[in-house]
Amino acid sequence: MKKYATMLPDIAGSLFKRPATEAYPFVRSQAPMRLRGLLKWTPGPCTGCGLCAMDCPADALRVTMLDRKAKKFFLTYNVDRCLFCGQCVVSCRLGALAMSSQEWELAALTREAFTIRFGKELDDQSGLAGGPQGEPHTDRS
């Protein structure tokens, strides 16, 4: 049995409904709690073990050891390489990493904005000032 205009109820109804399109950026709906946005690092638990960097499929994380005995290190996080897969969060056995569900609008106008340093203040400073080169942790020899 052939019918005609089978989508008539849909289009007639749509004339009286608001469009389904979300008027972003004027309207922003709430992002779900589990959204994998920007990576956030908590300095407390981190020991610089580098498992996160080893398991990152996109080579977005690097740990630079400044002084292994004094436990001075910093991490470099390249947002432009990050896949937002969340493996680093799982690999970290100490719970130092988490992905934000609020910060996901990450467009920037400069390259520098995409390199984020995670470090205890002193380590960050010495790293930035060109301190001892340290050994970066990478997964590929």
Binding site: A5, M7, I11, P19
Partner: protein, 303 residues
């Protein structure tokens, strides 16, 4: 001399620039209505203007092996034909700029100029997509043109004249859509065929042949073809409103009737799948022609 007001009417209002502006606004209305029917937002009011301006500003690439005169001339001829047809129809509810007995036939042929121009333009290019598009355009012309013309001549039969102004005045009294329903339906669907609106957009089915006859066009040529199509939409709506929907005595009625027709057209656009070219031909030569002939028979007998 009445030349200056005549030229002003032709070039500024209600023809020429106003006609172009109104056509682009109606094209926007078509897209916006379609979007609303599909539960989305659609373009903003200046989108067709922006598109035309952008295309006019772009480089025109002339493909190898085409006849340059035809390549540059056909879009001009198409747009010119559409704009000239505007001289004889009651635009914006005002009296036609020019009028003479038999101008209905002239208008119909001027409107076909665009389609034929498109077909020729497609055949001009050496590109395979254009050739197939041109073949389909011309096949479609052969299928809907006769029933469409006959459907528009139905009110002429009832009014006893081939002059649009006279038929329009005759139709002001009563709605021929009610007394000649079959002709009205064929005219409406025929307009969709002429404008290559879905479901009759096989000639420019972009999932099959990229853009049909217009594939090789860019820049100015494409802009002129698009403008021509928009003008045809406007004139087609005006014509059918004037003939079938009880005339268009003043601008307000004109707006209401043409927009109402546009809503109907857009509704049909949204509801149906694209027809293959052989299905289009079959549909028109089986049902279209039959319906309109039956309508003519009834009209003649009743008179």
């Amino acid at each position: 001399m009445s030349l200056l007001p005549g030229i002003g009417a032709m070039l500024i209002f209600p023809g020429g620039l106003s006609l172009l502006t109104a056509s682009l606004l109606y094209e926007w209305a078509d897209h916006k209505l379609l979007a609303l029917l599909q539960n989305r937002i659609g373009p903003r009011w200046f989108q067709p203007f922006a598109d035309s301006v952008k295309l006019l500003a772009k480089e025109e690439i002339v493909p190898k092996g085409v006849d340059r005169w035809l390549f540059f001339g056909l879009p001009l001829v198409a747009l010119a034909g559409a704009l000239t047809a505007g001289l004889y129809v009651p635009l914006a509810g005002l009296a036609p700029i020019a009028s003479f007995p038999g101008d209905l036939i002239v208008v119909l042929y001027l409107l076909s100029l665009l389609t034929l121009g498109l077909g020729l333009a497609g055949a001009n290019s050496l590109d395979r997509f254009s050739l197939i598009g041109a073949t389909r355009t011309l096949t479609q012309v052969f299928s809907y043109e006769a029933p469409f013309m006959m459907a528009l001549l139905g009110p002429a039969l009832a009014a006893g004249s081939w002059q649009i102004a006279t038929i329009s005045a005759y139709a002001s009294g009563h709605w021929l859509a009610l007394t000649q329903p079959l002709g009205f339906v064929v005219a409406l669907i025929g307009l969709m065929g002429k404008l290559e609106m879905p479901p009759f957009d096989a000639p420019e089915a972009h999932t099959e042949i990229v853009a049909g006859a217009m594939t090789e066009y860019s820049g100015r040529g494409l802009a002129l073809f698009n403008l021509g199509k928009a003008v045809e939409l406007f004139i087609g709506l005006t014509l059918i409103s004037a003939l079938y929907l009880g005339g268009v005595e003043n601008p307000l009625l004109f707006l209401a009737k043409t927009l109402g027709l546009l809503l109907a057209l857009t509704g049909v656009q949204a509801l149906l799948t694209r027809l293959r070219i052989d299905q289009t031909v079959g549909l028109w030569w089986r049902y279209g022609a039959l319906l309109v002939l039956v309508q003519w028979l009834i009209t003649i007998l009743v008179r």
